[in-house]
């Protein structure tokens, strides 16, 4: 539904987007990740026809953004970064305005506005002036505006930015509920959001795609992924050598915890599965009680940092 082809965008001497290619289909919720200034927003602005690309192009719902920007804009719902809204209008008036620009008239417009007011739970602030709304409501108005015409493509630039955890949860549920019918791209800094909502994640750094995978796949890139973590009552240094001898163990790290005699042991394996039983047997042989066993999943934070920092160092 969206196909980005070798997209390049320069701002003067600065190359903000550097030859990005990707495709997103219906039913996908794509998370756009990357450090600030990586080119996420710029890419989204090109997809929504706010900015023209320097070279390359994007096809949105079978229409080329360079050829027919009006047709693209009809198919896309867009929530710009920071949720700009006409603060002098009230919620009803604003949504009414968007509905009319989107081509709804009279009864039709009223019905469309009522529909999004219900799905974004805005009835309570119907006649409230936008500049008096709380951040959560503002965000919902921005969201309502984007889905008002039931677009096949939804582009959301940091949709949960500045919301409290409950509001974040609500917005995520809303996004997920629409994910099956639409093609959604959202950008975020919050990695847990990608896991909670997205079916796929793309990490951009310095205008280039450095990773394009499912959240699960990204996590698998983590060094921690599949590692075994134990909390053991023992002396760290001795333990390290002891366990490193075992078959299938590649590396062992031990870390004494401050407030107790406990020691956190992490065991990394070269094989597909960690030799859990031999490790436990060996510890039992040494009379070291094991308090806790965890199989680490790896954190997206760590993957994100390692990918984007590595690229930074190379440049």
């Amino acid at each position: 539904m969206i196909e980005v082809r070798k997209l390049v965008k320069d701002f003067g001497p600065i190359r903000a987007v550097d030859g990005i290619c990707f495709k997103v289909g219906k039913g996908e919720i794509l998370g756009f990740l990357g450090p600030n200034g990586a080119g996420k927003s710029t890419t989204m602005k090109i997809l929504t026809c706010f900015l023209p690309p320097t070279s390359g192009t994007a096809i949105v719902g079978e229409v080329d953004v360079r050829k027919d920007s009006l047709a693209v804009r009809r198919k896309v719902g867009y929530l710009p970064e920071g949720t700009p809204l006409y603060s002098d209008m009230d919620v009803l008036g604003f949504l009414r305005f968007v509905a009319e620009v989107r081509g709804f008239r009279g009864e039709e417009a009223a019905a469309a506005v009522d529909r999004v007011m219900a799905s974004c739970r805005l009835e309570r602030v119907r006649h409230q002036s936008i500049d008096t709304l709380s951040k959560g409501f503002r965000q919902r108005v921005g969201f309502a505006q984007a889905i008002l015409h039931d677009p096949p493509v939804l582009i959301l630039d940091e949709p949960t930015d500045g919301l409290d955890p409950n509001q974040k949860h609500e917005v995520r549920d809303l996004i997920k509920s629409m994910g099956k019918e639409k093609c959604i791209i959202l950008s975020t800094h919050i990695l847990e959001e990608v896991e909670a909502v997205c079916t796929r994640a793309i990490i951009i750094d310095r205008g280039r795609i450095v990773a394009d995978e499912t959240p699960e796949g990204l996590r698998r890139r983590s060094r921690q992924h599949g590692a075994l973590q134990l909390l053991v009552e023992a002396d760290g240094a001795a333990m390290e050598n002891e366990l490193a001898e075992l078959d299938g163990v590649e590396k062992v790290t031990c870390e004494a915890l401050d407030d107790s005699k406990l020691c956190r042991v992490r065991i990394y394996s070269s094989a597909d599965s960690i030799p859990l039983q031999p490790v436990l047997d060996r510890l039992a042989g040494k009379k070291c009680p094991v308090r806790e066993v965890t199989l680490l999943k790896g954190s997206l934070d760590e993957v994100f940092r390692s990918i984007t920092r590595k690229e930074g160092a190379a440049a």
Partner: protein, 244 residues
């Protein structure tokens, strides 16, 4: 074209949703009456016409109209709503025209509210209705030209004060060209043929001739083409400075 009306409606409502509209109208009415009666000595001239009233308009507009137009684009840029607006399925022409016409109607309303002036002269004497009508038409057209300059200036910046000053400076050029004192200075070194040409570029030359009751198509064309060029500049500026 349908969207032109939607934009127009929103912009017009935006004027009245803020205090700008009321402040603008009140100040315009107070100043135009004040200048006419107290500075120009409306009663002393003993003439039943509105020349004293209209002759102040170029100067009132010079400072008042940029205050009505400065918000139009600068505010959209500052608050980021320009991104919202231009990613809706609207053409630039619809938006630029919609905003311009809304502001023109708004200023037109302020101008319309000076109608008690007409009753005053009608009460005092027997004015020539045609001349007064021509005066209003000329003033309205000239207001459009000022507004178009103000729109283009507003599109250049995200700061309303900068937009205001830019619009005043550019408008001042249009006023001074063809204004007596300034023409005198130019006459000292420009050949007379060129001087006429330069004078033809100013607001006052054309406004005066309409105000006299002579509806020359060249004067109408002049104001319409200033609007046309300035609005075209507005579109070009927006297109060029989208991302900033």
């Amino acid at each position: 074209m349908k969207n032109f009306w939607v934009i127009l409606k929103r912009e017009l409502a935006a004027y009245f949703n803020s205090p700008i509209a009321y402040v603008f109208i009140i100040i315009f009415l107070m100043l135009s009456a004040g200048f006419t009666f107290f500075v120009s000595g409306f009663y002393d001239t003993n003439q039943a016409d509105l020349r004293a009233f209209f002759s102040w308009h170029p100067w009132l507009y010079l400072f008042l109209i940029p205050s009505a137009s400065m918000r139009l684009w600068a505010e959209e840029r500052r608050s980021g709503t320009v991104e919202l607006l231009l990613t809706l399925p609207v053409t630039l022409a619809d938006v630029v025209l919609g905003k311009f016409v809304a502001s023109w109607l708004f200023v037109g309303l302020a101008l319309f509210l000076t109608f008690p002036m007409v009753f005053t002269v009608a009460y005092l004497g027997a004015p020539d209705g045609g001349v007064i009508l021509a005066g209003y038409l000329g003033s309205f057209l000239m207001a459009g030209a000022y507004l178009a300059i103000g729109c283009a200036a507003s599109a250049l910046t995200r700061n309303q004060v900068v937009a205001f000053i830019l619009a005043v400076v550019v408008s001042l050029l249009f006023v001074l060209v063809g204004f007596g004192v300034f023409t005198g200075i130019l006459a000292s070194f420009l050949p007379s043929g060129l001087l006429d040409l330069v004078a033809q570029l100013g607001f006052i030359t054309h406004f005066d001739s309409i105000q006299r009751g002579v509806l020359d198509s060249r004067d109408l064309l002049y104001f319409l083409s200033v609007m046309g060029w300035m609005l075209a500049a507005n579109v070009v500026i927006l297109e060029a400075r989208r991302g900033e």
